[in-house]
């Protein structure tokens, strides 16, 4: 089989190439003009090398030809490899206005080729995708503006739904609500505690080493107490919850969107905002302060471990100093901020989920952007609060 070659016979010319499959072109004359005959031989499989149409017809003069046909006596076996060759021949024949006769091809080839022509090719109107940079810039700007307006619309709708809930006009399914409370609150306690404990440990460790130089070890309690209650407790809990729960909200609502579950809610007249977003937002705003309080206590405990082991501060001294340094206001500031962070996380997660695209990739993107949006806004909000509380003297 391997010795078989491609012979290209054009009246007197012969060109030979090595291949398992073969194609020889010859030209016959008939009453209606000259006929180009392609003699196919050997195995025409996609796994083997096959002659290309260009090399077979390297110097055929199409002007005098009227018809293209095939001869397959020596054809051994075939699959899609032959089919794409025949298709290429048909396209060539069309280009040079030849009649293409398929009758001598195996019946299976004829049938499959016929089937492939049953539906005409779809002409896409979006072909002109080459847009200038200015157009792209404009479209992107408009897209960004749209995004901002959408976000405002979402916020407005949420406020209306919250009001409706407060006045008892919007109902939240109890079962869903308690399930979300469970996942956003108690289930998050272990990871929040672990990370807060370590944060307290780290702050105390850095602080104690510096403070020892001035023999002011005891002030490590002030450092840890103020840093965690005012800032770190809320921020740490916020960052953890953004990654843990914000992403989950976006992915869950996003998959519901992909599965048309959101559409199903809408057709029953159930507002996705009230059914999905409201319980999540309320649950987060309720649970975040609790997580923040938990983070505060665990952080302070972490600081205490360092204080009593590295320096000679006793447990009683440490607790007394914390009591002296940390006021109820400091605690309240942290708790208030954590509630706001909870709102930010829940809104970002739900917003990204509801505006998710229609496929698996879009769900991933929604989860990612939910986390990025929440963390960004947590930091921005924290900065605003810092300035605000300074001005207010809180």
């Amino acid at each position: 089989m391997a010795s078989e070659g491609v012979f290209i016979v054009l009246r007197t010319k012969t060109i030979k190439a090595e291949s398992k499959s073969g194609c020889r072109a010859s030209i016959r004359s008939s009453s209606s003009g000259e006929v180009l005959v392609l003699h196919l031989s050997g195995r025409w499989l996609i796994s083997d090398a096959r002659p290309g149409l260009d090399e077979v017809l390297v110097d055929v003069d199409f002007a005098s030809l009227s018809t293209l046909c095939f001869e397959c006596q020596d054809l051994d076996s075939w699959d899609t490899g032959l089919l794409i060759f025949v298709r290429a021949c048909q396209e060539l024949a069309e280009k040079h206005e030849l009649r293409c006769h398929l009758q001598d091809l195996p019946e299976g080839v004829q049938n499959l080729i016929r089937l492939s022509h049953a539906v005409p090719s779809h002409k896409n109107s979006l072909e002109d995708k080459t847009r200038g940079w200015l157009t792209s810039l404009g479209e992107r700007s408009l897209g960004a503006l749209d995004g901002i307006l959408n976000y405002f619309a979402f916020t407005g709708e949420l406020i209306l739904d919250l009001l409706a809930f407060v006045f008892g006009r919007a109902k939240v399914r109890k079962k869903d609500f308690f399930f979300i409370i469970q996942t956003t609150g108690p289930s998050a306690v272990p990871i929040v505690s672990l990370l807060s404990f370590l944060t307290g440990l780290i702050i105390a460790f850095i602080g104690v080493i510096q403070l020892q130089k001035f023999a002011a070890d005891i002030y490590v309690a002030d450092l840890v107490g103020l840093a965690t209650t005012r800032e770190l407790g809320a921020v740490m809990a916020g960052v953890i919850m953004a990654g843990r729960t914000g992403a989950a909200f976006a992915a869950q609502i996003g998959s519901m969107k992909v599965n048309e579950e959101i559409d199903a809610l809408t057709t029953f007249g159930i507002s996705p905002m009230q059914f999905l977003v409201l319980p999540r937002v309320i649950a987060m705003v309720l649970m975040m302060p609790l997580l923040c309080v938990c983070a505060n206590f665990v952080s302070i405990a972490g600081g205490m471990v360092v204080a009593i082991t590295i320096s000679d501060v006793s447990v009683t001294q440490y607790i007394n100093q914390i009591d002296y340094a940390v006021s109820t206001t400091d605690l309240a500031v942290g708790i208030f901020k954590s509630a706001v962070f909870g709102l930010i996380i829940a809104m970002a997660g739900c917003y990204r989920g509801l505006n998710c695209g229609k496929d698996a990739t879009a769900v991933g993107l929604a989860a990612t952007s939910a986390v990025v949006t929440s963390i960004t806004w947590i930091v921005v909000a924290d900065a605003i609060f810092a300035v605000l509380f300074h001005i207010l003297g809180v």
């Binding site: 996609i46 794409i84 089937l115 492939s116 005409p120 896409n124 496929d359």
Partner: protein
């Protein structure tokens, strides 16, 4: 090990999800080059059987042989057997991050040494076979349900597989497309010598394409009969449940 004309033989296959038994002890064979339809009511385990046959699920008991060779999906030999399969999933299962063209090109790029231009020709030909010529640049999310199904079929036949598994191929297709799909299935079988296993409950398709049909019954958890549906429908020795199914419930409907 059965007849050499049997390409697939399933022996004593039990299918179960944990404690819930779907089917007890299935025995059947699929002959080379035949179109085998697996039919039965909703939830009787048709799709589950297909998943067992392609190795996505494993039953607690029973064995499946391909050409007399035991099929073990976790084994290297199982991978070799799997490469002879083309599978069309119920929902299409196109990879959503890739265009239709890339979806069909991926198996060709991975398992053949074809040049990029050959791959392009093959993908375009397969797309035209399923009536989707010119849609290669679209993403699956930009296609209708029926188009997604057909694109998925084009992907299933990309490598000219010897055994094709179709899970509800005509669900969600209009009658004309459904008919063309049946033609295509028969044509692929005739032209390429492929063996086809189809899970379906579309009666028109069953009568049009099936060489033999296996009826799964969820009450007895077993296969009730195996034969050509055109013979089964009028054979009084066949379980009335099967005949009733093939007659769209006319037998029980009259009694009411």
């Amino acid at each position: 090990m059965g007849n050499s004309s049997d390409i697939i033989s399933v022996k004593g296959l039990k299918m179960a999800y944990d404690d819930y038994v779907v089917m007890n002890s299935l025995d059947f064979t699929v002959k080379r080059g035949e179109v085998k339809v697996i039919m039965g009511g909703s939830g009787c385990g048709k799709s589950t059987l297909l998943k067992h046959m392609v190795g996505l699920e494993r039953g607690p008991e029973g064995e499946i042989f391909y050409d007399g060779e035991l099929f073990n999906p976790n084994d290297n030999s199982g991978d070799v057997i799997c490469r002879r399969f083309g599978v069309l999933f119920q929902g299409g299962a196109l990879w959503s991050s890739m265009t239709v063209f890339e979806n069909i090109a991926l198996p060709l790029e991975n398992y053949t040494q074809l040049s990029a231009s050959d791959i392009r020709d093959i993908v375009e030909f397969k797309l035209s076979l399923v009536g989707l010529a010119g849609f290669g640049h679209r993403y699956p999310s930009e296609l209708s349900g029926g188009m997604r199904k057909r694109a998925s079929l084009a992907r299933a036949i990309a490598l000219d597989p010897q055994i094709l598994f179709f899970d509800e191929p005509s669900a969600g297709l209009d009658p004309m497309s459904s008919r063309r799909l049946d033609d295509l299935i028969l044509e692929l079988r005739d032209a390429l010598g492929a063996t086809v296993v189809v899970v379906t409950h579309e009666l028109a398709s069953i009568f049009a394409i099936a060489d033999s049909a296996l009826f799964l019954d969820s009450e007895t958890k077993s296969a009730l009969c195996d034969g050509n549906p055109n013979d089964l429908i009028d054979d009084p020795s066949v379980d009335p449940k099967v005949r009733d199914f093939l007659k769209r419930g006319e037998l029980t409907h009259k009694e009411r």
